[in-house]
């Protein structure tokens, strides 16, 4: 057996005889197993529930009796975002953003402007999942198991004995790296099993699962290198433990937490109330279809009359009220879209600030990589919101068009006073059946890989820096002994 493997095997034997190491490892493995099982069960349960509710909502919409189309516009429709397969590994922002939206005419879905969607807040502590265990807890176990790998040998005097038996500082470091990397591989195992299960049972893309495994292997490899380096550079085991715990607290807890606050300050989002007030103000500015003196709708009416060469709206071949509803929807949807895009832009700015902090915290980098590959990042949620809004606009405009084409202007005006008119404006319910169901199109693998690339690049930079620090530690270890 090579000396490096010999040293690693000896460390594993020592760990196997250490109660602390046994306990730490067993606890984390148990936690990882529980996290994997609960996250997968939660994902499956949520998806079942969402599918059931979506079917119910579709059925309720389709089952509406003959109605005035505008009643259907306000009856609204629920849409649900199905969880991606890998949400069982990394639920990402789903727990914060939710995945159910009520769609209704004249207003964009309220989820777009919710306070909870401050994107930086979403970077904080997550729920118990395999991803959370690997991002936050696994490094802690590596620290507790590995802090003394070299520092304790130095204190005990066995480090000098290793050297006296002809082993170089580089060999000692490589042996320790292999020993701790073995532990990291064990810690990674439950997550790999969870990913394999999701690939088989939920049809997650194998490429994404493999990339996630590589990403987390790189992240844990970084911690392995860091722990061994600090252990080599520190005079005492106690000093190594304190330094590593400090490093963990700063990079895994503090920086992401402070990063959220920095992002909030640098790109503050207006509150829901502020947004609502601003939208209402702008709505009044762009036009009020109920005000005969409103310049926009006066011009719209004049344009219609001129186009159809008539002098009264009653003489138009289409129901003027339906046309006004379509124009009103076009205007309000454009306004809502502008606000939503401005909101998205601010959120992206916040995310950029937080991701910039990945240079200080590999935990932020791996979190961003993980959510992107799993399809549970904020971009995935925005994608859902955009698709939901596009769907809402299509349905509402379709119903408005029905009002314009299938309901006469006279009946529409008399429906509250004339029972016959009221009957005639209620159109055949088969029209609701023709409305297509909402189908969410998740981001493709290529798109997710591109979104994960910045996190991966930052991790790679960290790995290069850690390798440099390890080289430094090897030189110092060679000089010290």
């Amino acid at each position: 057996m090579s000396p490096i493997r010999l040293m690693a095997a000896n460390d594993w034997r020592l760990m196997a005889r250490s109660r602390v190491a046994q306990l730490a490892l067993l606890m984390l493995l148990a936690l990882a197993a529980v996290a994997a099982l609960t996250a997968i069960a939660h994902r499956d349960h949520s998806n079942d529930l969402r599918a059931r509710f979506q079917a119910q909502a579709d059925q309720d919409f389709d089952g509406q009796p003959a109605r005035h189309p505008h009643r259907m516009v306000h009856y609204g429709h629920f849409v649900f975002r199905p969880l991606p397969a890998l949400a069982g590994f990394d639920p990402g922002v789903d727990a914060f953003t939710g995945s159910t939206i009520f769609l209704e005419g004249h207003r964009q879905n309220s989820a777009n402007f919710g306070d909870v969607r401050q994107s930086s807040l979403l970077a904080r502590f997550g729920q118990l999942s395999p991803a959370f265990v690997l991002q936050v807890l696994a490094p802690l176990v590596l620290i507790f198991i590995g802090f003394g790998l070299i520092a304790a040998e130095r204190e005990r005097g066995t480090l000098r004995l290793l050297r006296v038996h002809g082993r170089s500082a580089g060999e000692v470091l490589r042996g320790k790296l292999l020993a701790l990397a073995g532990i990291a591989a064990v810690l990674l195992l439950p997550a790999c099993l969870a990913l394999a299960w999701l690939t088989v049972s939920a049809q997650a893309e194998p490429v994404a699962a493999v990339l996630l495994t590589i990403g987390y292997a790189g992240y844990l490899g970084l911690w392995v290198t860091g722990v061994v380096t600090v252990s080599a550079l520190t005079r005492s085991a106690r000093g190594a433990l304190m330094a590593l715990l400090g490093l963990w607290a700063v990079t895994t807890i503090l920086v992401p937490r402070i990063g959220s606050d920095v992002a909030l300050r640098m790109a503050p989002l207006p509150t829901r109330l502020e947004t609502d007030i601003a939208i209402q103000r702008d709505l009044h500015r762009i036009g009020d279809s109920h005000n005969p003196d409103d310049p926009h709708f006066a011009a719209f009416k004049a344009g219609l009359l001129a186009r159809y060469k008539v002098s009264r709206v009653e003489d138009l071949p289409l129901n003027y009220r339906g046309l006004v509803a379509m124009e009103g929807e076009r205007l309000t949807a454009g306004l809502f879209d502008r606000y939503a895009e401005a909101q998205f832009a601010r959120q992206r700015r916040q995310a950029e600030v937080v991701n910039g902090l990945a240079l200080l915290s590999p935990a932020v980098a791996v979190r961003s990589l993980s959510m992107a590959l799993a399809g549970t990042d904020l971009e995935g949620h925005r994608r859902f919101l955009r698709q939901a809004e596009a769907y809402r606009y299509t349905i509402v405009q379709g119903l408005n068009r029905l009002q314009a084409e299938a309901v006469t202007y006279v009946d529409d005006g008399n429906r509250n006073s004339d029972p016959e008119a009221a009957r005639r404006v209620r159109i055949d319910p088969r029209h609701w059946h023709d409305v297509p169901d909402f189908t969410y199109r998740s981001a493709g693998l290529g798109e997710r890989i591109r979104a994960a690339a910045p996190g991966a690049a930052v991790l790679a930079v960290w790995l290069v820096l850690a390798a440099g620090a390890l080289g430094l530690a090897a030189r110092r270890l060679g000089r010290d002994l």
Binding site: L6, S18, G157, T158, L161, R163, H165, G166, R167
Partner: protein, 247 residues
């Protein structure tokens, strides 16, 4: 094969220090120290605290590089090729470092494997017999061993190394008189095998008992050297050694 060292016609020295000077800050720890130990010779280096004894061992082990002068271990300069030099050396530190969670057998097997040899359990047992460790203790973890028992494990390891150089740092400090006598007998066997042995110690009587030469180190250089075989007055030496140490 028995190797008899002839003091008047020494074989090529296995341990060869010439003109070693080593400074630490303003303090000169070794000052033009020269010392040779031939195969099958036991050299005891005596000196007070801070005389440079442990520093001399550290230079031979390649852990410290001299500012001037050259050290050679079986022809290898430890400052240039420390790992190569260490492969020629068995080292018995004053405070024996072992893995407390392992048994004596496991400790020895591990360190021997690191040094490139894999003695079987019988060979390890024979070495532990020679070192005088009771057989019932050998399968216990060394965490519960006394200092003397740990010393014996390290001695067994040194015996098994079968290298040309043995460096000993206060080797008998944890041993009872019986174990010390056994240890001296063991050194005699290693000496007969041709091992060059350099021990640093405070124990003049012990040194006089087993060493071929005794060097007194003070201020980083050897100020006096005696050969016990030529007949020495140990008490007079003891007084003088006290003066040397005090100087």
């Amino acid at each position: 094969m028995m190797i008899e060292s002839d003091p008047d016609h020494p074989l090529d020295p296995v341990i060869d220090l010439s003109g070693l000077t080593l400074r630490r800050g303003p303090r000169t720890v070794l000052a033009d120290l020269s010392l040779q130990v031939g195969p099958g010779e036991i050299y005891a280096l005596l000196g007070g605290n801070g005389a440079g004894k442990s520093t001399t061992l550290a230079v031979l082990l390649g852990f410290l590089a001299p500012d001037s002068g050259v050290a050679r271990v079986a022809g290898v300069d430890p400052a240039v090729a420390p790992d190569q030099a260490r492969r020629q050396i068995a080292y018995l530190p004053e405070s024996v470092a072992l893995y407390d969670q392992l048994t004596a057998h496991e400790n020895i097997a591990y360190f021997m494997a690191l040094a490139g040899s894999e003695p079987g359990p019988d060979i390890i047992d024979a070495a532990l017999d020679a070192a005088g460790l009771q057989s019932e203790a050998r399968t216990r973890r060394v965490g519960g061993y006394s200092k003397g028992m740990r010393q014996k494990v390290a001695i067994a390891m040194a015996v098994l190394r079968e290298v040309p150089v043995l460096l000993l740092d206060e080797p008998t400090s944890g041993l009872d008189p019986r174990a010390t006598a056994d240890f001296n007998a063991l050194l005699g066997r290693l000496k007969a095998r041709g091992t060059a042995i350099l021990m640093v110690t405070h124990d003049l009587l012990g040194a006089a008992d087993c060493a071929d030469r005794i060097g007194f180190l003070a201020g980083g250089r050897i100020v006096e050297e005696v050969r016990p075989a030529e007949g020495i007055d140990v008490m007079a030496l003891h007084h003088r050694y006290g003066e040397v140490a005090a100087a």
